[in-house]
Symmetry: C2
Subunit: 413 residues, 2 copies
């Protein structure tokens, strides 16, 4: 038995998701219940909390209140977007982290984040090894964009997909209330990968999906887009289009940054988002009544449409991280290995080496997008559908969501 | 007993809500189960369906499918925004309606809509009386804006309020993820009345509400607004502001139409909505990181945050309309009379004369808004809170909402 006794630090990183705190609970609850982990410290605002020596004593929190983390959206301990330099270039932050780890006898570090965070984990772990300080480092995956390499999918994605599909189905109904023509452009998150935009297609399973979906994995062609939309609009008087915020031209320019309004020939940057810009262009060319809708940040913080599958898997990912580290693992990311066979969807947590996963983006396979580049194919549907299953029930108070209210007591050594 | 045998026509009008089809079910189900109503006809796209002789035979629908209307958002029979002229000015449409009513022996007309629709009901009823054609006309109230006079509140409002409060609570969490400064401006529906914008305050009951709320019942002052926001931002580094889309200057101009971007000195109309315009202005003056969010049409079609109280009341309003008409009532609107006393919230359906309710807008009482005009007082909270109670459970299929799929069989006489 490879028993290592000491404190653990848990930190959240990067953008929030609807289930990021379910992972936090998985780590915190499991760590609090583990004998060899002497203290559970939560970093205030991610890795900055470690650098600033601002660590919360998670043992001070009420059990019932911690449990509410399960359905609380958006990084409850706070987060930051801070990418550590290469230690060879500048070891300042690493030395500081080591100093803090020594101060609190931290022997376990759990970092919950996306690509950049797995890179950070990797660098920290290597540094600790070089410094001869024993510390087990495990990354817990997270991102609504679903672009982490090495795992079937990421916690956070299933709930965002469920939000998008549900909202699209509702908006479809709204769009069909009047018998007058209407073109709706819906902007969905996802700067580099189209996992989220593609999820709009799930609404099509109940007959209420968008007519066209544009993902960033294919080059965007404005003329082709307008033609696609016009063709459908001519036939039915309606068209609903989902676009990823990351759609770009063949030369790489993001459409959202490249486009100026046809009415503003001076090249002044528009305040409107991508959806309203595209809606405007379509209006100029077709004369149709149009509207642009930005799904906005509710895609990543809507706990009321969280997928129960996602919540449970996010929790499990955190739990597995702690159990694996206590059993001796380090330099790993918890990943999901899944099958979608005749006996249904199965998901198990495994460990992947951090070097493999860090800094590689996983995009939607080209063959999962249709030839025309304006829709997704059945394999995409088969892949996403199991991830949105089940409705997570948010505890309510006065019929308003009852989210976790942590005391956040700062620890002293 | 005042028994009147004949067909009934039910039509939906104006903008949709999350519970408009619960009212439809209340009318349709009750009418189908009533012996003296020989046939239940649903107008395709509102009053236009009557004018175009496009009426669906609701008796052709499956009972189970009709039941799904209860949780299906957005006018399932279709709607239109068509205001009939005064019959003295132009009786064409009225003559046509009478012709259609005679063709199908329609003796009951139920019209589900807001202000304009109650006016339409009134005009149609008077015309039928003048023409000597017996037809009982009852209006069923509807609007997310909650501005119908003569009723405690309107079906549709409670669910929209619940959506807004829930979303604001979630966005509050998202806004507090990073320790860097952030000002969030949230745009909420409501062109003339601030019932919806004020509902954002409910999120404050759980400590996650906006700092400032601006309703259209008070005049907007841009300098005062920027000062209010800056003051809070200076103190805490965060500020969340909710604004009604209908905020206007003292001279009556809507802020959304009056404002041009500070970067665009040429007066070119911006594509961005009110939220992004205000966010931009605040950014110019404070240098803060800002974001503008439009809650958009999900406020009116989000079935997944529908209030069970609202669903039940909407259904009851439809049911009462039919029962009252069969018992002899006409020229009435179903209204809610409510008490919020020591024994809790009570709501009963009553009948109000159509003349009283038509064309009068009910706004938020000035004394329910704070003196500074940037928040609401306790009476507002006490008024709205009972309306959002209970979570309506939407039937799911593959964990996607299972909405009603009507056959929509056109009737022949």
């Amino acid at each position: 038995m490879n028993e290592l006794t000491g404190a653990c630090v848990f930190a959240q990183s990067g953008g929030p998701t609807a289930v990021i705190n379910a992972s936090a609970l998985g780590v915190i609850r499991t760590a609090l219940d583990t004998g060899c982990i002497t203290r559970v410290l939560g970093a205030a605002y991610g890795i900055k909390g470690v650098l600033d020596d601002k660590l919360y004593d998670m043992g001070s929190e009420e059990t019932d209140e911690l449990e509410l983390l399960r359905n609380t959206p958006a990084s409850a301990l706070g987060s930051c977007r801070y990418k550590l330099a290469n230690p060879e270039a500048d070891a300042t932050d690493y030395n500081r982290i080591l100093e803090i780890f020594k101060k609190y006898n931290v022997r376990y570090f759990f970092y919950n984040g996306g690509n950049d965070s797995m890179d950070t984990c990797n660098k920290i772990s290597k540094f600790m090894q070089t410094a001869g300080y024993e510390c087990r480092v495990i990354g817990v995956p997270k991102t609504i964009d679903n672009d982490l390499y090495g795992t079937d999918h990421c916690p956070g994605f299933g709930s965002a997909a469920k939000y998008i599909a549900t909202s699209c189905a509702e908006m479809w109904h709204d769009a069909h209330v009047y018998d007058t023509g209407m073109i709706t452009v819906v902007e969905i998150m996802g700067r580099h990968a189209g996992w989220l935009a593609g999820s709009a297609a799930l609404a099509g399973l109940t007959g209420c999906g968008p007519d066209l979906i544009y993902l960033p994995e294919t080059d965007f062609d404005m003329d082709r887009f307008v033609q696609d939309v016009s063709d459908i609009y001519e036939k039915t008087g309606k068209c609903i289009v989902a676009v990823s915020e990351g759609i770009h031209y063949a030369d790489g320019r993001f459409v959202s940054e490249a486009e100026v309004s046809a009415t503003d020939g001076f090249g002044h940057a528009q305040l409107g988002g991508l959806a309203s810009k595209l809606a405007h262009i379509v209006k100029m060319k077709t004369g149709a009544k149009v509207r642009g809708i930005e799904l906005s940040l509710l895609q990543r913080c809507s706990s009321h449409t969280a997928s129960l599958t996602d919540v449970n898997e996010a929790f499990q990912a955190g739990k597995t991280a702690v159990e694996a580290a206590v059993a001796g693992a380090t330099d790993k990311m918890v990943a999901f290995r899944c099958t979608r066979g005749a006996d249904g969807y199965r998901c198990e947590t495994v460990l992947e080496p951090l070097e493999i996963v860090a800094n590689v983006e996983k995009k939607v396979p080209r063959e999962w997008i249709n030839a025309a580049g304006n829709g997704v194919e059945q394999p995409f549907i088969d892949y996403v559908l199991p991830l949105i299953q089940g409705e997570a029930k948010v505890p309510m108070e006065m019929s308003l969501p009852r989210f976790a209210r942590l005391k956040k007591v700062l620890a002293t050594p």
